[in-house]
């Protein structure tokens, strides 16, 4: 087991290097002038050709591909991602500031996905082909066909426009005032929900939760539908195995057969789709945050893209690609922990 983990960790830097290579290739499609715009915080410099030329040479933006890649990597290691006009601060600062909001959203979205998706999948397979199963299945297929941005707008329309329950944004104005001004509210984790509880402010906690529910549903429903389908077919497969028949023949209670004998083995293939769910979620973050104007990384990236703020978009892409590589690594390792057969490859 340990050798498997070490092997995977050794490849990790190579994959990360490959990712930077792909993203630098995208970056090098820009002209030197456009590249320069990602590094300076004062656009008037660009109007002076001589000054601009000097800066282009200073940042090695006109160098041939390999040299340019080398200097670019060097600046990345110094955490210099350039300047973000959209956020009006360095890209790295902008990322640091928005990171907790996005992580909070993703964190709360993963838990219900795993619990609800697996639960519904098991129910669906146990009640194979009766009305409950059909209802769950049809809902899943429709959910599968609803694009995130339409689903999100629908949630916003019903739960905010009509019912007024789930407002967009991250906090109401009064709560923002308390949280971001003055020293009375301490930021321990930068997760508003945790911080509110640690500060003993239940009203702010409740306000943050209300703002989170809509984005959570929007971000996770596709993964629910997906997980449900996989759990269901994998459960159906397992329930037909000989050892299940043996257990039943021995007189083991039906509940025990399903939840202890079958579910454990049926969950192995479910772990494989976790990797695909990570992709789905990281892409979904951009759309979900844009729909709900939730002030995280995705919202910032989308507004940067609209304003052709290349530096921010590239920094964002690097960060998300790294997150995805690490996420996939965690999935692979936990898969190997659950299923010993994987390690032998």
């Amino acid at each position: 087991m340990l050798s498997y983990i070490i092997r995977r960790l050794l490849i990790l830097p190579l994959i990360l290097l490959g990712v930077t290579f792909v993203i630098f290739s995208l970056f090098s499609l820009l002209s030197p002038m456009e590249k320069l715009a990602t590094y300076i915080n004062n656009p008037t410099v660009l109007k002076n050709p001589q000054a601009a030329q000097k800066l282009i040479q200073k940042y090695h933006l006109d160098d041939p591909f390999p040299a340019g890649y080398f200097y670019w990597l060097k600046s990345l290691l110094k955490l210099d991602f350039g300047w973000s006009p959209t956020a009006n601060q360095p890209v790295w600062e902008a990322i640091k500031q928005r990171f907790p909001a996005t992580v909070e959203l993703v964190f709360y979205s993963i838990i219900p996905v795993i619990l609800v998706g697996i639960w519904l999948g098991v129910i669906s397979s146990v009640h194979h082909n009766d009305i409950l199963d059909q209802t769950i299945r049809v809902t899943a297929i429709i959910g599968w066909s609803l694009p995130t941005f339409i689903f999100g707008l629908l949630v916003l329309f019903i739960f905010y426009g009509i019912l007024g329950w789930l407002p967009p944004g991250r906090l109401s104005t009064w709560a923002q005032y308390i949280v971001y001004t003055g020293d009375s509210f301490k930021h321990y984790t930068h997760f508003i929900t945790f911080d509110a509880l640690l500060n003993g402010r239940l009203d702010i906690f409740w306000d943050a939760v209300k703002h989170l529910i809509g984005p959570i549903i929007t971000l996770s429903y596709i993964s629910w539908a997906y997980l449900l389908r996989i759990t269901r077919s994998s459960m159906l497969d397992t329930l037909r195995k000989d050892y299940i028949r043996t257990a039943r023949a021995k007189g083991v209670e039906e509940n025990k057969v399903i939840y202890q004998h079958a579910r454990k083995n049926a969950l192995i293939p479910v772990v494989t789709v976790a990797g695909m769910m990570i992709v789905e979620m990281l892409g979904g973050v951009v759309i979900t945050e844009t729909v709900f104007t939730y002030p995280g990384l995705g919202f910032w990236a989308a507004s940067s893209a609209q304003q052709l703020d290349y530096g921010s978009v590239i920094g964002f892409a690097l960060l998300f690609a790294f997150m995805m590589v690490i996420g996939n690594l965690i999935v692979d390792i936990s898969y190997a922990l659950i299923d010993p057969r994987v390690r032998l490859e």
Partner: protein, 311 residues
């Protein structure tokens, strides 16, 4: 082939899917008759007013706009916006009809080119093996490690607005799945006797790949491709929704939804006032994707006998 079509028609889910697809194809083919274009570029959505605020279904064209068209020497073909107008006075009905053509074009072009690249890369990797295989597969891994939507968004931002740029971005990051599938099945097939026989006869490598291996391995890829058309259209629409896709006023479903974004909530006390601005684009996208999913799901069941009667 005949057997597959018969099964597709017998299954009620895929029958619904096929019928829906047929409707969309008819809309796309007869678009010039359903919604006659006003401009030389038919994908330019005509405006029914200068208003920023959307107008409800059945709103007539404003006098201002009539005057503009008349002074340009254009006949006013549409007196009313049947589905209402979106933000900026764009005719939703026109956008939907011509957007169907856009959807088919985006879906088919991106999937076709991704499949082509995937087939070339995958078959070369599997056939020659060794370091070529290693190199190409690691390249696939690296492309797979950037989240698809994010990668497409970055590339579109860098290339600039426009539907062709969106398609390039979707192709650049959409070929890896096909490459893997084709590689897997060629690895299984290339040790078969007929391939070895062809090699022994001195048939050129390229001919063996194109005429001996691919005809026997291409089918699973085609199924996967048909299932991906819907999701490619959704991704393109999502890019337009985020504001990096089609240029302003281009007939594209994603853009029509993004027009609705600011109006979804409605004025205080009049919730749902602008429902039509998101309803019509939404329903078109959802039905389009649903139809491909229904057909693709059944197709997979038919071709994978293990799952028969289960999914």
């Amino acid at each position: 082939m005949y057997r597959i079509i018969k099964k597709l028609l017998k299954n009620s889910a895929s029958l619904v899917g096929l019928l829906l697809l047929l409707v969309f194809i008819l809309i796309a083919v007869f678009a010039p008759f359903i919604a006659p274009p006003l401009f030389p570029d038919p994908y330019q959505i005509p405006r029914m007013s200068w208003d920023i605020e959307p107008r409800p279904p059945g709103s007539p064209i404003t006098d201002d706009m009539r005057f503009v068209y008349e002074s340009l020497g254009k006949p006013v073909i549409r007196e009313q916006a049947i589905f209402g107008t979106a933000q900026g006075g764009y005719d939703i009905f026109y956008g939907m009809i011509w957007g169907t053509r856009t959807a088919f074009r985006v879906g088919i072009v991106t999937v076709a080119f991704s499949v082509l690249i995937g087939i070339i890369g995958g078959s070369i990797a599997a056939y020659f093996g060794g370091w070529i295989d290693e190199l190409l597969m690691r390249l696939t891994d690296i492309f797979l490690s950037v989240p698809f939507l994010v990668a497409a968004m970055v590339l579109t931002t860098i290339l600039g607005r426009g539907l062709d740029k969106v398609m390039i971005a979707l192709i650049a990051f959409g070929w890896m799945g096909y490459a893997r599938v084709i590689r897997g099945s060629i690895l299984c097939t290339k040790e078969e006797a007929y391939v070895i026989a062809a090699k022994a006869l001195g048939v050129k490598d390229f001919r063996i790949i194109a005429f001996h291996l691919l005809p026997n391995t291409i089918f699973p890829v085609l199924v996967q491709a048909s299932m991906n058309i819907g999701s490619m259209v959704v991704t393109a629409a999502a890019l337009s929704f985020l504001g990096v896709g089609a240029p302003l006023g281009y007939a594209d479903w994603g853009q029509m939804v993004s027009f609705a974004r600011n109006w979804i909530i409605g004025a205080p006390g009049k919730a749902g006032e602008y429902w039509y601005a998101v309803f019509f684009p939404g329903i078109f996208i959802v039905l389009f994707v649903l139809s491909w999913n229904l057909v693709g799901d059944t197709l997979r069941d038919i071709l994978d006998p293990r799952l028969r009667g289960e999914l």
